[in-house]
Symmetry: C2
Subunit: 258 residues, 2 copies
DNA sequence: CGCGTAATTGACTTTTGTCAAGGCCGGTGG
DNA sequence: CCACCGGCCTTGACAAAAGTCAATTACGCG
């Protein structure tokens, strides 16, 4: 079931059959199902394990005292939700399901065993964690410096490319199971403005969005007008220098503390 | 010279004398000086080591094709700049000095030696890295959901509290060696608007800002009107359960990959 | 003292938000 | 099969927040 995670990690480095089986194994132990709009974990809770999204979409979010909500990141299949495992006493944000979600709960010990036995996986999980941080930085840029239209365009480019990296696109189309309110909460725009921006993008032929189906006829153009530079996703097999050797024996710190 | 780093790490857990000496040691090997506005490392460069700020302020930033710049985070003494060491082929952003800066360059191997010998330090460095990520998330919220005034107020609260955590405040005052343009680049506001917001905050007695000296007469009030919740900085000795024991021998993954 | 950077101010424009009403559409129950 | 319901999308009119431009002032530093 964790095809997407494996596929994503292989954007960074090549994994052996044993590596893949080990990932498959930890991801198949303990599952959980949630309905749309349910919280996977809430601000203030203690996070006990890492959640791997197997199916569906989720998001990290925070709600302010004045009631406004910011979506901090989106999670799609193959994403790991909270690597803070056991360092922080409690979550400083919530994670909620957008669609119905199926996830695997991976304990800290399972992860430690996995990484001790599979240094290549360790490297790949490090890469995954650092890409997550890079995405967060890019969101800061998005919210701070781009216009409404650029923000939405940028977000759609990012989501499309991330989905493509895990095999969840179909040509130039993908599912986009989020409401316009969600898009607004992620981009810092009102739902009304999101609506208008989407119409503009549609009118210019830059997107086709009908129901939950998104089509980007010309990704390059959308990227250009959205000031989207794909570098921050680091999808270009940066760990490929490891491909030649057998199991990597270089010292590799473990991406799970304690 | 790395008093601030040590002091900061002790916000999380208690360190032994040997832990502190080991940190002192790696931070004293190789230093570097930069003038204000010089780049410590630039987008596209290969990052070879972790930079520890010993003195001065720096910032992470990105420049878009249209010339606009977003400051993604501020670094003050005691902060570690780029833990991406050697996973990514190249930096996806730049780090620049705001004031003249003195920093320590810590190689990956030094860090690995340090963490292998000092599990408590490993834990603390994990905590530091996760706090950095939490700060980045909070910036996303700041840019997405707060008004100009709240954004500036929030940023000032954060900086003041971070400085206080490393002993760089003096009562209710601290140095704020950034221009209004910098504040704008960090909060997504124009310099003109930053100026007006600062005047409002001054007029309401919420800050005193003269030259590079910032005073916050009533931090609690400023926090309240800025929707600032300190939790995300995780300064409350969350690792204090480790205090009692001697050197911690629990498995601790290393916060430096490869 | 003079230069250059940074801060300030005013007038005006643009972007985005708010409010409120109406339309679409899929699902459900009679 | 159809009417109704609720969530989501769409639209218009207006308001508020923030940006831009341009000129002026303050201030630190050599």
């Amino acid at each position: 079931m964790p095809q997407q995670l494996i596929r994503k990690l292989e954007q960074f480095t090549r994994l052996s059959g044993a590596d893949r089986r080990a990932i498959w194994d930890v991801a198949s132990r303990k599952g959980r199902f949630l309905g749309a709009h349910q919280d996977i974990i809430r601000e203030g809770d203690k996070s006990e394990h890492v959640n791997l999204i197997l199916d569906g979409w989720a998001c990290r979010y925070k709600t302010l005292e004045n009631g406004r909500r910011q979506i901090i990141s989106f999670f799609v299949p193959g994403d790991l939700c909270d690597p803070h495992v056991c360092v922080f006493r409690e979550m400083d944000h919530s994670i909620g399901a957008i669609t119905p979600v199926r996830l695997a709960e991976i304990s800290r010990d399972q992860l430690l065993d996995l990484t001790e036995a599979h240094p290549r996986v360790t490297q790949a999980l490090w890469w995954e964690m650092l890409v997550t941080a890079a995405v967060q930085r890019e969101w800061t840029v998005n919210l701070g410096q781009r216009t409404g239209r650029e923000r939405i365009g940028h977000l759609l480019c990012e989501l499309f490319i991330r989905l493509r990296a895990v095999g969840l696109t179909d040509g130039d189309s993908c599912l986009l199971p989020v409401t316009q309110v969600d898009l607004g909460d992620a981009t810092g725009l009102s739902n009304v403005h999101v609506n208008r921006v989407l119409q503009e993008l549609r009118a210019d032929g830059q997107i086709v969005l009908k129901g939950r189906q998104l089509t980007i006829p010309d990704l390059e153009t959308l990227q250009a007008v959205s000031l989207f530079n794909v570098n921050y996703l680091h999808l270009d097999r940066e760990g490929r220098h490891l491909d030649a050797n057998g199991p990597d024996t270089a010292r590799a710190g473990c991406p799970v503390p304690q």
